[in-house]
Symmetry: C2
Subunit: 526 residues, 2 copies
């Protein structure tokens, strides 16, 4: 049962008088429960508990932390349909979507648990001593990765499970050994409460220190206070450019600047090459339409522009895409602000010089968002920055290039992106090396003959791209490498063996892969 | 022969009217050569050439880049005594010091060349496709590290070779595949010119693209313009907190924020434990004195404070240290600004409440800096922030603790440090786990029974610590891991094999270690 409290470690707390309420975007009616907004004192207590918990939790073994992460997944599954129904009521997305998203969320938690049990992720490096080296002896140096400290995680509107309370940021921070303080998203505080209870129940069952997880309700001000708190050592965020950049700036202006991993906007350009287009225009239009409308277009990897050579084949593609999208029934968006913003940005786009709408939704009321596609010439696209901005929703723009030179110019002009996609047969892809090389500098992931939506959770995933796609393109928020955001190396010089962490001891008791004197090995030392 | 020009790729250029001149700190006389300060147009040209070079250089193989780095080392050695004498004349440090520093610089370059030839540093990760996976097929995803783009490197006053023109920042950026633009340090423009010529000669001999290296003269304004230039993608800096933090702030305020790796101040605390102190007071004093005065105290790892239990043994240590330091002949510091600043900060320290000088230099004129040691009680240290600040030079402060609780309080209060050192026998080190754990959160490197000066260049070194020791404690500026500062991952999804970089191709033509489906292996795929 949802009680509307904050969670300060294992303690529930509702000291404030200010409350917030979720709205069901399907009928625009408020859901009955009220949620207490965290007070300054509650924020302070959560941060203090997180710091106290850190001093314990940082020393927990990988196996202990893995037990915790697995238990969170079990507890989330134990919420059964209550979670699915609440997430659906707070987002307007169908139950089926949340069965999938819950699976992804639990798989992520279990993936990090596996990473911890295996243990080599700490990147242990050992250089053994050379006491007889001339002109001076060489000391014994051993380094590995250690957690940074308490991490503030912001819930994301579009992924109440996989990128929120127990999502990738939380899972990777907990895996790293960092306590987490979640600022719940105002749109889905009930989903946050259910998941928070699951995490805290898992923490209790696996004997984690109180304060390893807290969750607070509130708006941007609550978020600001958390980011500015001296105890916070890093921030995870998924959302708009405005929101992410404001948090980034705030964190850099602290007395001690801290890293902010904000995944922000992206238009995820798709380059459709000539022969592929010629041969498969209709088939590609179908595939592309599916990507544009997936989740009512509310994915960070939604394809916002498609770039191709003007001509008969692109006309066929455009007609087919417009037909596909005109069949799309307007669907409920995450909240009325997002729906309003979608319609507003889309209108702005359609009013730009040279932009022609091919298909716009007919009956789009309240929180409903319908699909749209428009066209523009490469020339107009190049001279108008407004066309490079993300429209968050099921809308896309087809850029008709005059020639290959213009295509290259467009690629050159692109800002940092999460993804860039190429559709083409092998021969023409090979011939477009220059185009691909230009795009490589602009994106975190390059996709061939697929669509950008759908981000595989695995070791090799890089979900992050150059600014402004993220505030730090050197890191990913999806996949095992996400753990690297919350750690730093520490080196030990001539440390007695029994004072070293297990990972660095001579005997290699955890049997992990280590770099010893330049060679990757699981062997003992000495 | 030194000509006083800027180097814009392979072009020498002296368009400006403003010049700067080096001063020999030994006699405070200006050295004859004048150096042209770079104009805006020259800065612009250097950045444009760097960007153009990047588009070529990023695709060079590890073997090609290795040849370049090795050639730089050869060319530097080819400068013979001219380099040694010039560095000595511009810094006041003896020739012998520069023979050592030159060796370190060349070893660093060759170390990165070896890293590139081996090739596994790109952290290749491959997850192969599972076309039959339910409910949706799994794509083939492959990621590795790619260079960020042009890197601005600031020469450091205290290491004209190892942390300047061809120092660790330059070597690691070039290894990563990033062109480098050096802003030469005003104190040693001649050394910079000689080394720049060596780098450019190596670039020519190994057919590197023009613009892969540039070097510009100027003061803080020149540095600011370089950091603000949109083409710059990262910054390396070693110097004062004021300088580093200003560059950091500037870089964060850019339209596109970029990473700044600034290694700044540190007081490198040394904790001397009771039994060790009791048994070896005099021997430790000798060792410690050597570390305090090494390089006239002008090392970032210089030990600024020593913390121990008050009592007879610490009295003995203090007396012995004062004797050692009173034997130290005042020596020439890097420049008159640093010498003035040393004496000023030392005087301020000695005027603080409770601080007692045990030994101060008697005849200290001009650029000479003599050694000093003072004592203070733990109580006075805890309540006075001024005592936590770095005094750059051969001066140190002994903190007399009342008890173990106070020692822990002092550890708690420390700011981020490059290093923290413990001297103790095994038994007492084991008993001080709490103290060591507190310090672990404050430092990049923990040293046992050694001194903080002397930073080994190796895989396991972490030369970096939490803010304010550096602006980014997640990275090191020394050792092979320094290359990680200038790269970001890019993932390729379902990319045709022949379009992939060699490192990610099925055949593994470079025979590097890769993570394939979760397992580290050098095996081919398929």
């Amino acid at each position: 049962m949802i009680k509307g409290t904050n969670f300060i470690g294992s303690e529930t707390s509702s000291e404030g008088t200010e409350v917030l309420q979720a709205t069901n975007p399907q009928d625009n009616q408020k859901l009955p429960e009220t949620f207490a907004v965290a007070t300054e004192a509650e924020i302070q207590r959560a941060m203090e508990k997180a710091q106290a918990a850190f001093l314990e939790y940082r020393n927990y073994s990988g196996k202990q932390k893995a037990t915790f992460l697995d238990a969170i997944a079990d507890e989330i599954m134990g919420l059964e349909d209550e979670l699915i129904h609440r997430a659906s009521a707070e987002t307007g997305l169908p139950n089926g979507r949340f069965e999938g998203e819950r699976g992804r969320t639990c798989n992520q938690l279990r993936m990090f648990a596996d990473l911890l049990r295996e243990g080599s992720w700490v990147d242990a490096r050992i250089d053994t001593a050379q006491p007889d080296r001339e002109p001076i002896p060489k000391a014994d140096i051993r380094r590995m990765l250690f957690p940074l400290g308490p991490v503030v995680v912001f819930g994301a509107s579009n992924f109440p499970l996989a990128f929120s309370t127990a999502g990738g940021d939380t899972a990777s921070a907990l895996a790293a050994g960092c306590p987490v303080i979640v600022k719940s998203h105002e749109s889905h505080p009930g989903t946050n409460e259910l998941v928070s209870r699951a995490i805290l129940s898992a923490a209790e069952k696996t004997a984690m220190p109180c304060g390893v997880f807290s969750s607070l309700n509130g708006g941007p001000e609550t978020g600001q206070k958390l980011v500015q708190h001296p105890t916070a050592k890093a921030v995870g965020f998924t959302g708009s450019f405005g929101g992410g950049k404001a948090i980034y700036d705030l964190a850099q202006q602290r007395e001690e600047p801290i890293p902010v991993y904000a995944e922000m906007g992206s238009i995820n350009p798709v380059f459709l090459l000539d022969e592929k287009l010629e041969n498969s225009a209709e088939e590609l239009a179908k595939q592309y339409a599916g990507s544009v409308t997936l989740g009512v277009g509310q994915f960070c990897t939604n394809p916002g522009i498609l770039v191709a050579q003007a001509g008969e084949a692109l006309n066929r593609f455009s007609t087919a895409l417009a037909e596909e999208l005109s069949d799309y029934e307007p669907a409920c968006m995450l909240n009325s602000k997002i729906a309003d913003s979608y319609r507003g940005h889309r209108s702005e786009l359609l009013e730009q010089e040279g932009v022609k709408a091919l298909c716009t939704p007919s009956s789009e009321t309240g929180t409903l968002g319908g699909a749209a596609v428009a066209t523009v010439s490469g020339e107009d696209f190049l001279k108008n920055e407004a066309l490079h901005r993300e429209v968050f929703g099921p809308s896309t723009l087809i850029v008709f290039c005059a020639d290959e030179t213009q295509r290259l110019q467009i690629a050159q002009q692109l800002e940092g992106q999460l993804t860039i996609t190429f559709m083409g047969n092998d021969k023409e892809l090979t011939a477009r090396e220059e185009l691909i090389n230009i795009c490589r500098e602009k994106a975190g992931r390059i996709i061939f003959n697929g669509v950008p939506t759908g981000v595989e959770v695995c070791d090799s995933m890089h979900h992050g791209g150059p600014f402004p796609a993220t505030t730090n393109g050197m890191y990913t928020s999806v996949g095992t490498a996400a753990v690297e955001r919350f750690v730093r190396p520490i080196a030990f010089q001539d440390c007695p063996d029994d004072l070293l962490p297990d990972e660095l001891q001579d005997e290699n008791p955890l049997d992990i892969l280590r770099m010893v004197d330049g060679v990757q090995t699981t062997k003992k030392i000495g």
